[in-house]
Symmetry: C2
Subunit: 307 residues, 2 copies
């Protein structure tokens, strides 16, 4: 099986209480790809970059099994750029600069060798672009997952609601689930989101873990208690990449297997936050990931005799 990853490949400048990183590699599709290749290859990338996106990064991705046929390079424009500053709690941040650059013209087209791919991860983008990708696929993937954000709920809610009808799994954070539905209870928000289209809902709660909802079932994966969260940028995309990469590698979309995929995604995300940008994701081996999954198991495992 294989996975299509759609999203940005970009530069970020990040300030955290631990330091600053200027113009480092970022973008949702970048994190998704670096995460997913730990479980499945090829990951077929769809994105747009400017003249300034480094060729070495493209080589690095290729080496790891990422196809780049669907990454369009615009020779006379810069790559998408985002700059943000995290607050002391690392859960909230201020956006300092957003330069769309090439992203303003992003109209993804699907290379012929991407057709027939079974798993599709739509990173956070305008919901119209996300829908376009779905509609350009000649064969519907086995599982379509998408991320989105509050910005699209405020500026493109009607387009977002249309796109939601076509996806199987929505992966958002708790504040976004509440904003999308107007409901505070996440259990009720899940039921409301199921009525919008998705059959699966993953709610990311950052340091508080993640919830998976499907019909009347629910699964909870904790976040690993870490000494320090160094840089949360990309953790959500890394989670999504690990989740979809694991599902694609096992070709099993049962609820039981989705639980495993949530743990796989959580393990990857726990590495991501240890260093600036995707740095840490490039260092880890499958053994590191397995060791971390074992830590998750130990964190929540208990045996109790009932009467």
């Amino acid at each position: 099986m294989s996975l299509i990853s759609v999203g940005t490949m970009a530069f970020d400048s990040i300030e955290t209480p631990f330091g600053k990183a200027e113009k480092i590699i970022g973008g949702s599709a970048t994190y998704i790809a670096y995460s997913a290749v730990n479980f499945v290859t090829p990951v077929k990338q769809i994105s747009i970059i400017g003249y300034d996106f480094p060729e070495e990064e493209m080589e690095e991705l290729k080496k790891r099994g990422v196809w780049l046929d669907g990454v369009q390079r615009v020779p006379d424009k810069k790559s998408f750029f985002w700059s943000g500053r995290y607050h002391a709690d690392m859960n909230s941040r201020d956006t300092l600069v957003t330069e769309l650059n090439v992203l303003a013209d992003f109209d993804p087209s699907i290379p012929e060798n991407y057709q027939g791919t079974e798993f599709l991860m739509l990173g956070n983008l305008h919901p119209k672009i996300q829908l376009n990708v779905i509609q350009e696929l000649k064969q519907r993937p086995k599982l379509i997952a998408m991320d989105t954000m509050n910005y699209w709920m405020e500026t493109a809610m009607s387009e977002l609601k249309i796109t939601l009808r076509y996806v199987d799994a929505l992966i958002i954070n708790d504040a976004e689930a509440r904003q999308l539905t107007g409901l505070y209870s996440l259990v009720k928000a899940a039921q409301a989101i199921f009525r919008m289209g998705p059959k699966y809902l993953v709610i990311k709660k950052g340091e508080h873990g993640a919830l998976l909802f499907h019909e009347n079932e629910v699964f909870f994966a904790p976040a690993l208690p870490l000494e320090e969260v160094f840089d949360p940028t990309g953790a959500g995309d890394t989670f999504a990449g690990g989740f979809m990469g694991y599902l694609a590698s096992t070709d099993d979309i049962s609820f039981e297997n989705m639980k495993r995929a949530i743990i796989a995604g959580s393990a990857l995300a726990s590495f991501c936050v240890e260093k600036f940008g995707p740095t840490r994701l490039k260092e880890i081996s499958r053994e590191d990931i397995d060791a971390r999954i074992t830590e998750f198991k130990n964190l929540v495992n208990f045996e109790i005799e009932l009467n």
Copy 2:
């Protein structure tokens, strides 16, 4: 084995987005007792009440195995009264009224038939009163746990730090752990709290579950995702009562058994929030609790094959 429970027995007036409850039964020791008796009896209560605390409530507690020899009734004063209003998120609240009444004179003395008790739960009170109780026990309990709050950190930090030297387990929420240590990372806060005296730290995170720290080990118990949290009042005390009641009933303070106790406490707390005051705690059976513990197991249980 048995358990001493120390704290308030009081009246609360509560406003939540779901309604109002005027002058209902409350108090930390009330919740601790109603919760703990599901696992262990007797629960030996130490508290102070005024002329207005209803005799029927005393009978109800007695019927369930709560000893009341240590509950002092002051005939010419009112019971402690607290009134608060919860915000829409149910995680934060404003205190509207605090009337100390009898609590101003609380100087607990230990009845002779309480001596030799193996487990001690010190509900949230002035740390000097908590220390007095410890010092009046002729034989040190096997496990001493205490709750406290931000108010004592602001007004009696030096007394609090002295009391902490004498307890085995501290049970507080995440904001309190951060305030007590000045550290944002809960992993680092745990290590700092161990240096203050306690060997076990339970951090309650409300709807985000609870963490148990001991030496370099950590265990995480989720909160059950609920459709509605009706009234969170007393949930923390109910958790503590279930935790200590379970430990006392099993007479096992290994880390493995503490994990089970955390789950038991979480299960009881998940009932507490379903109705105003301790109402729901009076309705449930051991079968209800076991069914809920099974829900917790299913919520976090996953099986994954590693390479």
